[in-house]
Amino acid sequence: MTIAFIVQRYGLEINGGAELHCRWVAEHMRTHMPVEVLTSCAFDYITWRNHYPEGEELINGIRVRRFPVSRPRSPEKFGRLQNRILEHEHREQDELAWLEEEGPTSPKLIHFIRKNQAAYDYFIFFSYRYYHSYWGIHAVPAKSILVPTAEHDPVIHLKIFRDLFRMPRAFVYNSEEERVMIQSLSRNEHVPGLVVGVGTEVPSSYAADRFRQKHGVDGPYLIYTGRIDQNKGCPHLFDHFLRFKRETGSAVKLVLIGSTVLKIPAHPDVRYLGFLSEEDKFDALSGAEVLVMPSFYESLSMVTLEAWALGRPVLANAKCEVLKGQCLRSNGGLYYENYAEFREALKLLLSSERLRAALGDNGRAYYNANYTWDIVEHKYLKIMNDLGAAR
């Protein structure tokens, strides 16, 4: 059995959620069957301009075939088209024009899939909203498996996607909430699907003291790791945290890890450490009292899973259904919808070491039961075996 993973970008230096997810799954599935990756030559996700050379290369033992992007995205035109389809009456043609501008527009990739469909048993498409998934699934619906990585994004309501969700042979969902959302939108209950998600690479050793010494962090701290931007709810986190400090006089600090596009508030208890290595990140996570996830949109928060893998509790934004659902299913974290709930939940977490430990243990058990690589690989194999048996 040979499978092809199709994703918008691919490379060791690409850390985007779906792209990293795809690379990890491909690298793990390689131990079970021959795997190839079909992708574009793009690196920049704003313009999809060709960056890598067209052709084949080996990345961590996987053959990667790159196809050129015929037309880079014009952000202005894309914004205009998106505005039209989201805010005005429009036709299906407008949605397809938007999709073409969304990119990465690579007709050669689609042509390759159509021409070589006999060489692969299954095509696993990542990210529903891009050109490669839409036209790729149209080219080989009978062999396609879709990993939608969908969030509560307004474009998911477009008609072209409602139709698309009824086409693949199977779905690999990231969370139960994602499955419910896609099924309620497209009524595609007849398409088989499993909630799988993704495993995570937890280093064999990690040390909170090493992190504290290296970065000069003392006392209890909350941690946020990830992109620091508006969409991730970081302004709310800053606001809530500073207000919490003023109202309660707590000595807790906030440690921020990741690249930022926002101005970090100048406060002695807010420590921004920039982009850290994986080792430093896990060291930091292991020493944190709580991981705070203020994001409004997540299809699967890898950082949350990493915190649970280390036995740390989570305080998540309840407006993100996926995070709230994971907290409830795992009993591994609390959540908040507004500042008052943030304050009460954080006060409770900081005041009870036993509660933090109990939530962390539950989170770890949830991670071990659902998100270790053995389980993830087994689920992917099960989907393909079930499809093979149904043929």
């Binding site: 302004p235 800053f238 606001d239 500073l242 207000r243 003023r246 109202e247 309660t248 006089g249 707590s250 000595a251 807790v252 508030p265 907290c327 409830l328 795992s330 009993n331 591994g332 974290g333 609390l334 959540y335 507004n338 008052a340 709930e341 304050r343 009460e344 939940a345 006060k347 409770l348 900081l350 005041s351 009870s352 036993r354 509660l355 109990a358 939530l359 539950n362």
Partner: protein, 226 residues
């Protein structure tokens, strides 16, 4: 069951937790209850501070440094007491310069007149546009009525067509019955023909039997006479 112990200045809401079987939904229900009750307790202590520091956005950062706005007062345009006297003196002193001031204010006056004229013309244009809009609205209503009439006519035609369709359905039913009748008639006629053929065969056999009997009779008579 155990209650969390507060550490330092952080006072947690009194939430009882079964640490052996932590249930996040239950804890959250209690937290939400505590959060809903808390604003009343906190508002008195935090209100002045909250107003200045509740948001991190730059737009809301400015109130942190700005002094609180004074309470609204009634504005009195007329100066009172000493102010009125000073105003009178100033007016007396400036009286010789009034023609010069008027001369200086002439271009502004002209400009004001031009602006007023322009505003008047704009008003006239607006009135004309409003009249035009009303006329078009009337025309639009008329067209809507016409379209409504056409729709009524279309409905009538549709009713007529539906009546014809019902007739057609009835005719089709009659034709189906006639077909059945034809079929049954053909069947019965075929049966009768088969029966007639059988009877004819029987008659032929009986004739042959009779002929044989006659021949035997004749032969027996000849033998008897001999």
């Amino acid at each position: 069951m155990d209650s969390p112990k507060p550490i330092g200045a952080t006072q947690a809401a009194s939430v009882e937790i079964d640490y052996d079987r932590v249930n996040v939904a239950e804890i959250m229900a209690r937290i939400q209850k505590a959060a809903a009750e808390a604003p009343a307790e906190l508002s008195a202590a935090n209100e002045p501070r909250e107003a200045a520091t509740s948001s991190f956005s730059p737009a809301s950062a400015s109130p942190r440094t700005a002094p609180p706005a004074p309470p609204p007062t009634d504005w009195n345009p007329e100066p009172q007491g000493a102010k009125q006297t000073i105003k009178k003196i100033l007016r007396k002193l400036m009286r010789p310069f009034f023609p010069v001031i008027r001369l200086l204010a002439l271009p502004i006056h002209e400009e004001l007149r031009a602006t007023i004229k322009s505003l008047h013309e704009t008003n006239v244009r607006l009135d004309n546009l409003y009249r035009l809009l009303q006329m078009q609205s009337v025309e639009f209503d008329r067209k809507i009525d016409l379209a409504g009439e056409r729709m009524d006519l279309g409905d009538l035609r549709l009713d007529h067509l539906e009546g014809r369709l019902k007739d057609l359905d009835k005719s089709m039913e009659y034709i189906r019955l006639l077909h059945n009748l034809d079929h049954n008639l053909v069947l019965e006629l075929t049966k009768l023909k088969v029966e007639a053929d059988t009877l004819k065969s029987k008659v032929r056999i009986l004739e042959k039997d009779q002929e044989l009997t006659l021949r035997r009779e004749r032969a027996l008579e000849e033998q008897a006479l001999k």
